[in-house]
Symmetry: C2
Subunit: 244 residues, 2 copies
């Protein structure tokens, strides 16, 4: 990607959303906002504020970035749909990363591995494990849904007995269970390290291979688990499908 490309990045995987505009390595604007009502009402106003604050217009955008998941099913759909629409109209590529990887990228050069945990409801968390000691996240264990009490096993497979950094909405919600499962090895990061960050997303995807605008149909949400909402009997979607 050209170093001066202007990128719009969105993270709609959580109940708070984040939008950023970056030119090359420079983040021009980032905004964090509450989307607990619905991302469909809050995302576009946030994009608008961010673009205006960055002094940019849609016609200037050279690339897009989006979080594919895991996280809020509806949030992910809205983020992907928005980015696909922008990219299709502008005929520009889309970069993507997982929500858990973006959370892990907030700990450059940390010694212990990072275990980002997102609340997946139904008593589960989405979890993955990353080594960040080199400055950027290297995946040790890929995204999955687990019971909070089973995270000890996930970590032990890679770091028997060593400290582990916990962050994300799942770490806050299941703090007691996680402490019991992982013991004294738990290093709970502050609440600021549970926030989505489109600026970190924009930096994380630099140098990666994007999806070209002609191939956007192949860019799918990373749900991990089937959506809670089911298609009523008698209705059919042609492929994939499912709300949530």
């Amino acid at each position: 990607m050209n170093d001066d490309f202007l990128m719009l990045a969105l993270d709609t995987s959580q109940t708070q959303g984040s939008v950023a505009v970056a030119r090359g390595e420079k983040v021009l604007c980032e905004i964090l906002f509450d989307a607990s009502d619905t991302h469909s009402a809050t995302l576009m106003p946030a994009v608008d504020i961010c673009m205006r604050t960055a002094g940019a217009v849609t016609d200037d955008l050279d690339a897009f970035a989006v979080v594919t998941g895991p996280g809020s099913f509806t949030g992910l759909r809205i983020g992907l749909a928005t980015v696909k629409a922008f990219a299709a109209v502008r005929r520009r590529p889309v970069f993507s990363a997982s929500s858990l990887e973006v959370l892990a990228s907030a700990f450059p050069f940390a010694g212990p591995p990072v275990l980002p945990l997102l609340d997946a409801r139904r008593g589960e968390v989405y979890a993955a494990l990353y080594d960040v000691s080199s400055g950027s996240p290297v995946e040790l264990e890929g995204p999955r849904d687990v019971k909070p009490g089973d995270t000890g096993r996930l970590v032990d497979s890679r770091s028997a007995g060593g400290a582990v950094i916990l962050c994300g909405s799942g770490a806050a919600r299941y703090r007691d269970i996680l402490s019991a499962s992982l013991g004294e090895r738990c290093l709970f990061a502050g609440s600021a390290w549970s926030l989505p960050s489109a600026a970190l997303l924009a930096m994380l995807v630099r140098g990666r291979r994007p999806v070209a605008y002609v191939d956007l149909a192949g860019l799918e949400p990373l749900y991990i688990r089937p959506p809670d909402a089911k298609i009523p009997a008698g209705m059919k979607l042609r492929e994939g499908g499912g709300g949530g």
Copy 2:
């Protein structure tokens, strides 16, 4: 401080500004914006956007946080004046931290010490050294102005030969000189870790002792070095003074 206090936090120490609104540990909104023209034109619109996005009004605010410096002399004055005005009207306390400490707080649990460097112009940088291995910054060497080529000595006094994490506008501007001075020990953080963050400021000051609103006159900018602008001969200010 009460856990549910609503806080407005500002960082105006750099050419980009940051404003955040947080309730207790929860960051409700944060916005990063360009202030290279002047913070006096960009700060209040950013505060307004942030407050509206957070669904808060001035009358709700229970506390304030501000970066005292080092950094842009004018930016610091504007940030302090704004926060003092809010705090005086609301009769609420003001928390503060140094710009370098806020930058260091972005590396929780990093193994090597963090050397945040802000461009101080005149071929100098503002620098300090922090141990962040426990999760929050512990000052090893306090803020000072140094030549980029002299940072090696600053680091050696605390971490002879070990790796050191560099971030901030000074790290980007003097990358070559710093590499020559510090050698292979340099771990340059990505550009996202040079940004001001009022959300990190708000989290950093939690649990600290604020300045009460009746003592606001004592809350002064941390300039480190005298301002570049001098009072013309024949003019006098009653005390302190100096633009920049």
